[in-house]
Every structure is written in structure tokens, then in C-alpha cells.
Amino acid sequence: MLHIYCPHCCEYREEEEFHAKGQAHIVRPLDPDACTDQEWGEFMYFRKNPRGIHHELWVHAAGCRKFFNVTRNTQTYEIKEVYKVGEKPTIVAE
């Protein structure tokens, strides 16, 4: 059971209040119509899915309803950092 710091509520909350939304920083192509099928497929489905440091998007669904980013080790489940949408992580793999 993860204990997640919400950067908007500024405190730790139980995992049950959150929804995990997959890999963070996936940007919708600005001109989808110009994408090939391959590019569009990669945007929709292809993911890093690393063992180790991972940047994820979460939403504080039962709290402030804000989306934010979590840097988490997918092996130890340690949360290294949380940061707001639009911000960059300070902790990255390697």
C-alpha cells in the first residue's frame, strides 16, 4: 500500500485515494493528422515500462482531483519525488 505525497494537498495520503494513470510525460502529438500509423500507435501504446526509476502520472482522485507526477522505483516501490504537471523531474534513471 503506497503512501503518496500529494503536491497540491501538501501531505501524504493513502494509495486508495489515488489512481495510477501510467507513464508520465507522454505528449500528444501536436499534429495528429500528420502522424503515420506507426507514430500514432507508439504514442498510444508503446511504453518504457522500466524496472527501476519510473516517472508516472497519478491523480488524487478522492482528494483534490489534480494530476501530478511521481518518480518511483518500480522494484522497491520507493517514491523518490513527486512534482506537478508541467514540471521536470530532478531524479532520473542512471
Partner: protein, 217 residues
């Protein structure tokens, strides 16, 4: 139809309340709390429904200081910008819900006036939505209220973590609630209409070992 509409070009606001002869039915109307109140007056958990209050969801960016100031002026209070805090002035309470969202309660009949005033006096990007029909307020208190809440909510109710005035939107059993501590042994729960019966059943169940007293005032 002059009493039902204030026209602004952009946002439609209407008085949603009928005349006072028509009595509204709160989400727990069917539970007949008044009768339940008559039956028992001792127990470790007390519950009172504060029915038919006016609730408004306000959205705006508080970093826009002018916008914030004009909103504050209309509300007659300083919107809390500190996370999880609340401010009460007179009959109006503003609860921080999110960095750009507040849940504001007013007496039921005052909601429309506030909506109207906002549309007239506040300029900028905001949204004020009447949600009075969608929620009801339960005040739970008593010697064992914290135990009851600990059975229901994963949040830490210790006074050091959750002082009076703090507001937390969180889960309540398999539903949700906006919880504000009123004093050491009293909390306000704002719950959703469609889940009200479930929460009412849950609270009765969770309070059984302490004794549940229904207050009706």
C-alpha cells in the same frame, strides 16, 4: 419569471428554489431522522443532519490576485489558499478543496444571491456552480466519534494531524466525504446525495458498539 433567472451573456444562473411552501427533501429524508432522534439520547456517537444548506463549488485561479480579491469581496471572506484549510465568516464557510477549488456553504436560500452577485461583480475566468441538491451535511460528534471515523476513513484523525478547521476530501468507506473538524470531538461530513443512504447505513453499523444518538435541532 423574474425570480428564476439572471441573464448574463455567458453563464446561465437560475434560482433553483421554489417558494417556501414547497419543502425540500434532503438526501436522508427517507431515513426519518426526526423519529430516530426521539428514541435514544445516550451513546458515544452523535449524528445530526444539517439539511438543505446551500453549496457552491467555486473554481478560480487564486494567483490572479484581482480575481481573488473580487471573489473575496463578494463572499465577504478571504478564500483560504492554504491547502486543507477553511474559513468561516458568519453563515458562510469556504473550504479549500484544491488549489483552484473551494466548496462554499451558505444558508440554502442564499445560494442564488451569491451566484447572482458573482456573475455581476466578478470579472474573469471562474466558475461557480450550485451543488446544493447533490450533497447533505452530517455533523458527527461524541466521545467515540473518532473511533467511528477510524472504521470508515483511512485518514489520521489524531488532533495533531487533523486540528479543528482542517478540511479533508477523502474516502468514506466505499464512498467519499469532505470532512472538516469542528472541534476535538465533532466533525462535519459533506456527503453525496446518491451515497447518503449507504453512508447512513454505514455510520449506524460503525457506531453500534458505542451507541448512536440522533440529534435533531
Amino acid at each position: 419569471m423574474s425570480d428564476t433567472a439572471v441573464e448574463t451573456p455567458n453563464v446561465m444562473v437560475m434560482n433553483q428554489l421554489p417558494s417556501s411552501e414547497i419543502v425540500g427533501e434532503s438526501p436522508l429524508h427517507h431515513a426519518d431522522l426526526a423519529s430516530a432522534a426521539a428514541t435514544k439520547n445516550e451513546g458515544g456517537v452523535h449524528l445530526r443532519e444539517n439539511a438543505l444548506q446551500g453549496f457552491l463549488t467555486l473554481r478560480l485561479n487564486p494567483e490572479n490576485k484581482d480575481l481573488l480579491a473580487s471573489a473575496n469581496a463578494v463572499l465577504g471572506l478571504e478564500l483560504p489558499t492554504k491547502p486543507l484549510s477553511s474559513v468561516t465568516e458568519g453563515a458562510t464557510t469556504a473550504r479549500w478543496m484544491s488549489p483552484d477549488e473551494w466548496l462554499i456553504s451558505v444558508p440554502g436560500e442564499a445560494a442564488f444571491d451569491l451566484e447572482t452577485a458573482f456573475q455581476e461583480k466578478v470579472d474573469g475566468h471562474f466558475s461557480l456552480v450550485n451543488s446544493s441538491g447533490g450533497v447533505t451535511t452530517l455533523v458527527v460528534s461524541g466521545e467515540h466519534v473518532v473511533e467511528m471515523l477510524k472504521k470508515s476513513v483511512p485518514y489520521d484523525f489524531h488532533i495533531s494531524e487533523f486540528p479543528a478547521g482542517k478540511v479533508v476530501s477523502t474516502l468514506f468507506a466505499k464512498s467519499s466525504a469532505v470532512i472538516r473538524r469542528l472541534d476535538e470531538q465533532a466533525f462535519e461530513l459533506i456527503i453525496r446525495r446518491s451515497f447518503a443512504d449507504y453512508i447512513w447505513l454505514w455510520i449506524q453499523d460503525a457506531s453500534r458498539e458505542y451507541g448512536l444518538v440522533i440529534k435533531n435541532d
